[in-house]
């Protein structure tokens, strides 16, 4: 076999992105503990500044809990548009340094820095410094950069030094680093996998890499192989730029209810909203789905999910709603529900035409609704539960005020 050319991959992670954007825009917030959250009663913290993190404030925490551990915490209501604009600016900037940029999320990206036949980590380090300077100059924000020969280790590198870090993990250094590194530090090994591994006597990446592969396969199935490679610090996944990224394989939305409830009528209302959101995204992508998954989180945080395979793929919001609702009714929630999620997978990008004109009219109405919402904004026109009728079987069309 011919040895594969060494790749050099950089992972760039913006530091406390949402909170940093708020601190940049409002000088009075600088140097103070800030957390960004939503407006609802049951909102959670989506980002905390480093000053807040020092008190133990974490992403995903309810604001009440965060205020208890950090009484001086300043809560700021997030603004998606602000972050999206800043993110777009940063991602465009990365293009100056590499033609191959994979946007991993709103605040992180992988850059393939393998520029020549014999790439050098020394050159890559210089490039990383330039990137950090450019980001700071253009946006006033800092970032952490990890450089390694694959995405897994690059991501690990950016996590090792925060904020404003630059860590290089060369192939020579990686084995020693992984030997004692706890498995949970690797991206892709979460708390539940960590717990299972611990029961198997595996605590460090070094132990994971040496663990017999067939035993990992037996315990984790296909994931076992991936875990084995992760333990060895190997990752063969390429950096995939947006234009070459595969089309979505599933479309899902979930919502935490404003209060826990067992009322099927209320739950149906939420399902309808979710079905509309999922359906609209499906149709915008000219897709339909043939597997519907309903996820329910109960008041005690236990989760149940049920799947239904559909003979005919769906994209109409009401079809999605009817199936999701049937699953919910069969599920007979035994506790009040805290969160509902609807996901369609088995994605298909063709449209089976209908024999009956009634069906075609239904789709035409749906198309008009999509057109109106695309033009005048989300939820300008939507399916609404008929007033006073719970549970609703066939929702009626409701018009909100058209924005001028």
């Amino acid at each position: 076999m011919i040895a594969k050319k060494t790749s050099i991959i950089a992972h760039i992670d913006m530091n406390a992105f949402f909170a940093s954007v708020e601190q940049r825009n409002n000088p009075s917030l600088r140097g103070r503990p800030v957390a960004v959250c939503g407006t609802g009663k049951r909102t959670i913290i989506s980002a905390a500044s480093y000053e807040a993190k020092a008190y133990g404030v974490k992403t995903g925490m309810p604001p009440g809990q965060a205020l208890k551990i950090c009484p001086g915490l300043i809560l700021v209501t997030g603004s998606g548009r602000k972050y999206i604009d800043t993110s777009a600016k940063i991602m465009a900037l990365f293009k100056n340094f590499s033609p191959t940029v994979e946007v991993a999320s709103i605040d992180e990206a992988f850059l393939d820095l393998t520029t020549s036949a014999a790439p050098s980590f020394h050159e890559a380090k210089k490039t990383a410094r330039c990137i950090k300077e450019a980001v700071l100059y253009e946006t006033g924000l800092t970032c952490s950069v990890g450089i390694a020969c694959n995405k897994l280790l690059a991501k690990l590198g950016s996590d090792l030094q925060k904020p404003d870090g630059l860590v290089i993990i060369t192939p020579e250094e990686s084995a020693a680093l992984l030997e004692t590194l706890p498995v949970g530090k690797l991206c892709g090994i979460g708390p539940s996998t960590t717990a299972v591994l611990r029961l198997m006597g595996i605590r460090t990446c070094g132990q994971l890499g040496k663990y017999p592969l067939y035993l990992l396969r037996r315990r984790f199935g296909a994931l076992g192989e991936k875990l084995h490679l992760m333990g060895l610090g190997l990752d063969y996944s390429p950096v995939i730029p947006l234009e070459r990224s595969p089309k979505a394989k599933s479309f899902g939305h979930s919502v935490t209810l404003s209060r826990d409830t067992s009322d099927i009528g209320l739950l149906s209302g939420y399902l309808l909203q979710l079905s509309q959101a999922v359906g609209r995204r499906l149709r915008a992508d000219a897709a339909c789905g043939s597997v519907l998954t309903l996820m329910v989180r109960y008041t005690d945080f236990s989760i149940t999910s049920r799947q239904k395979k559909l003979y005919t793929p769906v994209s109409h919001s009401l079809d999605i709603f009817n199936i999701a609702r049937d699953i919910l009714l069969n599920l007979k929630p035994h506790l009040p529900v805290r969160l509902l999620g609807v996901t369609l997978s088995g994605i298909n990008r063709t449209e089976q035409l209908s024999l009956f004109s009634m069906e075609n009219k239904r789709y035409a109405v749906q198309q008009v609704m999509d057109d109106i919402n695309n033009r005048y904004g989300d939820k300008t026109v939507r399916w609404g539960a008929a007033a006073g009728s719970t549970p609703c079987r066939i929702p009626v069309l409701s018009l909100c005020t058209v924005k001028q």
């Binding site: 000219a286 005919t312 079809d319 063709t350 035409l353 024999l355």
Partner: protein, 367 residues
């Protein structure tokens, strides 16, 4: 009560009855079969309240009576007995004895009085129809009924009397299968019943010998099929079946005639790759050929070609391969005709040389 009965007759009867009893019901008696000991025969009944099955088996009955026992248990016991003659008798209350030679099984019973009443078969025959023809008709339409329980009407099959014809129609909204059977004598002029798909499935099993005639009779809110000594009673799905006639296109400009076997092989071949994705195959019609192709991203593509006479402008139409294979696999004729309009309008598939069958299928719009 006491009777002697042939094992093979009893086994085949219980096999049929077991399809009607429900083993998962909250009412234990629905897992039982009702056995009525009558002069010269035993009557077996099974029901899950959706369908009911009643059949008579010849037996030497020494004393009359009735009892219910778990159908599956009785079947397993008699299947395991080696000899041919089996004795069923009741010596103690709540127990049925199954005896043969030195073997003796005692099964707990539930009282016959608690068993659901089998409907009275009052008069009201629609027709008498040869079993083989009815079985073929069921096979040729039933696959087109919908699996979508949110549209209960389409999960059934329409049984319709119209003039001298009995029509069976099934549609899932994307394709329609219609079989018309001409019968000389029909007692009612117009009737339309939506029969659950399962009823026809079970009936089709019962008709597997293909001999004799089936009587179809309408009860107050049920329908009965009487065949040999078996009566199958089923609920009817309430509602109005969609007007299927309006979706059968009248004059389609283009048509092709080809070997059913060859088209089936080509579509099956294309479906090997298509089923990895959307199940969609494209049929390209031109003067003397039909090309069947499929492309599945990240898997591969396929090209199959067959010779066919085609009359019309060159055209590409995409279909769900399963909708094509369903019909092609259920026709018995060797040559089929495919009539098309445009790539987005319904197509018709019919067997050549046989009247009375129409399959309408909507194409798929490619993204």
């Amino acid at each position: 009560m006491k009777a002697k009965i042939e094992k093979s007759c009893l086994a085949s009867t219980l096999q049929a009855i077991m399809r009607a009893v429900s083993n998962r019901s909250t009412q234990p008696i629905l897992g039982n079969t009702l056995i009525e000991f009558e002069e010269g025969h035993l009557l077996f009944t099974g029901t899950d309240l959706e369908i009911g099955l009643k059949t008579a088996v010849k037996a030497q009955v020494e004393s009359n009576g009735s009892v219910t026992v778990p159908a599956k248990l009785l079947y397993e016991i008699i299947s395991n007995l080696p000899g041919e003659e089996i004795e069923l008798c009741q010596e103690k209350e709540h127990e049925l004895l199954v005896k043969q030679g030195k073997s003796k099984y005692s099964i707990r019973t539930l009282p016959a009085s608690e068993y659901p009443l089998f409907p009275e078969l009052e008069k009201g025959d629609i027709c008498e129809i040869p079993a083989a023809i009815l079985q073929q008709a069921i096979r040729q339409v039933i696959f087109a009924s919908s699996q979508d329980e949110t549209r209960p009407i389409l999960t059934g099959v329409l049984l319709e009397v119209e003039g001298n014809n009995i029509n069976l129609a099934a549609t899932d909204g994307h394709r329609l299968a219609l079989r018309s059977i001409s019968l000389p004598e029909l007692s009612q002029e117009q009737i339309a019943l939506i029969i659950p798909e399962r009823t026809f499935n079970e009936l089709s099993r019962l008709l597997s010998s293909g001999e004799g005639e089936v009587v179809i009779r309408v009860l107050s809110n049920q329908v009965a099929f009487i065949y040999n000594k078996i009566v199958l009673v089923s609920r009817i799905i309430e509602g109005k079946y969609p007007n299927y006639r309006q979706v059968i296109p009248g004059n389609l400009p283009s048509g092709t005639v080809a070997s059913r076997d060859e088209i089936t092989k080509a579509v099956k071949g294309a479906h090997i790759l298509a089923k990895e994705g959307s199940h969609v195959v494209k049929m390209s019609f031109s003067a003397e050929r039909i090309a069947v192709t499929a492309v599945t991203q990240d898997v591969g593509d396929v090209y199959e070609e067959i010779n066919a006479q085609y009359d019309g402008e060159d055209m590409d139409i995409a279909f769900n391969a399963r909708y094509l294979l369903d019909i092609l696999g259920n026709l018995d004729e060797e040559i089929v005709e495919i009539k098309t309009g445009t790539s987005l309008s319904p197509a018709i598939i019919r067997p050549v040389g046989k009247e009375g069958y129409t399959y309408v299928v909507m194409p798929v719009k490619m993204g």
